[in-house]
Amino acid sequence: MAAPISPHDLETLSAFLDNQLPGRERNRIQERLLAEPALKAALEDLRRTRAVLRRAPRLRAPRTFRLTAAMLQPGAAPNPWFATLRMASILATVALAVLVTGEVAAFRLRSIGLTFGAASPAYEEPAAAAQAPEAESLGATDTTTPLETGPAEGEMTLMAVTETPPALEAAAPAEGGAAADAAEPEEDPVFRTAEKAATPSALRLAQFGLAGLALVSGLAAWLLRRRRP
């Protein structure tokens, strides 16, 4: 009995048999076939196996598989509203999840900001400590380079969020008195964005709207599906 051939050689022989080898590999296996009787015998076995399989009786279709209109009838085609409603429900659920996650994240960020605010002189990561003077000097000289001023802006954002409650408190009397004007925080777009984002009523409204949409469309899709025969 000849030595067994490797899986790689087997694969090469099989592809060679089907004329699926690239030129160089084909030449190489042809040379080996001349020198290695075991390889040649393996090829011959594969060839005969393939020949037997190719002689497998061709079965006639026992009947026609032509389609009729009845086969494509309902039950069959889903109601076109089903897909729309299902998609609306999915999207509303995803959007709701994003909003809720965002709100939670903002809340946590605010908490962290408070911590930073309380411990700001002491709290400095080593990397941040290394960059802080540079960032400060850049902040003072060139505030238009977003990449380099990134950490400083981040710090400003945190501080702005942290200071939101006093700022909001100050906003009410600001309409009436000059003393309040002194307490007004400096005009900062980041601060304004954070303040807007914290507006609870709009957020709640959106959350309730999305939850309602998800529920109603999901329920409608489920009912449509149940009505299908």
Binding site: M1, S14, L59, R60
Partner: protein
């Protein structure tokens, strides 16, 4: 009318055009389904379901070999049937006659032009091949059926099996080796000239 025109009309909802495509490909579809499931009744169901599914999915056909695309749907349906059967094993593998007895050469296997001896030999060869195919893992069986029995080239087989070309090559080589080992066990049943000797080189 050529196949592309038929596909185009079928995509516009012309059921007659689609049925012309069914007539062209139903034999290949049934053969693949039968070789995969090893059972004529299941193969009929799989083939019919696959054509219904193909009609509904025509919008997703993006050109290329229509046969490969269609056979991909058939193989998906066939593999689903195998999975279902694995969960709830029930069916008999041999075809039965009206009185429940096993039929060696069912109607879809008969060839009116052959002698009884030839028919018997053909039936035995068919049974031997099917028995060996049934012993392969479905993924390996599929590649042998597509390439060696249905005559698809490697590209078409890769498209039908949803597998990379290299995977098809490797599966085919290993499946052929296993078929070779299995078919050796049938010795005399195989046609003269195709018998695989027991003292093979592997």
């Amino acid at each position: 009318m050529d196949e592309n025109k038929l596909i185009q009309y079928a995509r516009q909802g012309d059921l007659d055009a689609f049925n012309r495509l069914v007539e062209i490909h139903q034999e290949a579809a049934f053969n693949v389904a039968y070789r995969l499931t090893g059972d004529a009744a299941s193969a009929e169901d799989v083939t019919q379901d696959a054509f219904i599914s193909a009609y509904r999915s025509l919008a997703r056909y993006r050109g290329g070999s229509f046969r490969a695309w269609l056979l991909r749907i058939v193989t998906n349906a066939g593999l689903d049937e195998l999975r279902r059967r694995k969960r709830r094993p029930t069916t008999a593998l041999e075809p039965e006659g009206a009185e429940g007895e096993e039929v060696e050469s069912p109607a879809w296997l008969e060839d009116p032009g052959e002698t009884p001896e030839e028919a018997a030999l053909r039936g035995e060869l068919n049974a031997a091949i099917q028995r060996c195919l049934d012993g392969l893992d479905p993924d390996f069986r599929l590649v042998v059926v597509l390439v060696d029995i249905e005559g698809l080239d490697y590209q078409e087989a890769a498209a039908s099996a949803r597998a990379p070309l290299g995977t098809v090559k490797s599966r085919l080589a290993r499946a052929r080796l296993r078929m070779q080992d299995c078919l050796r066990g049938f010795g005399e049943l195989l046609p003269a000239g195709y018998r695989l000797e027991n003292e093979g080189s592997l």
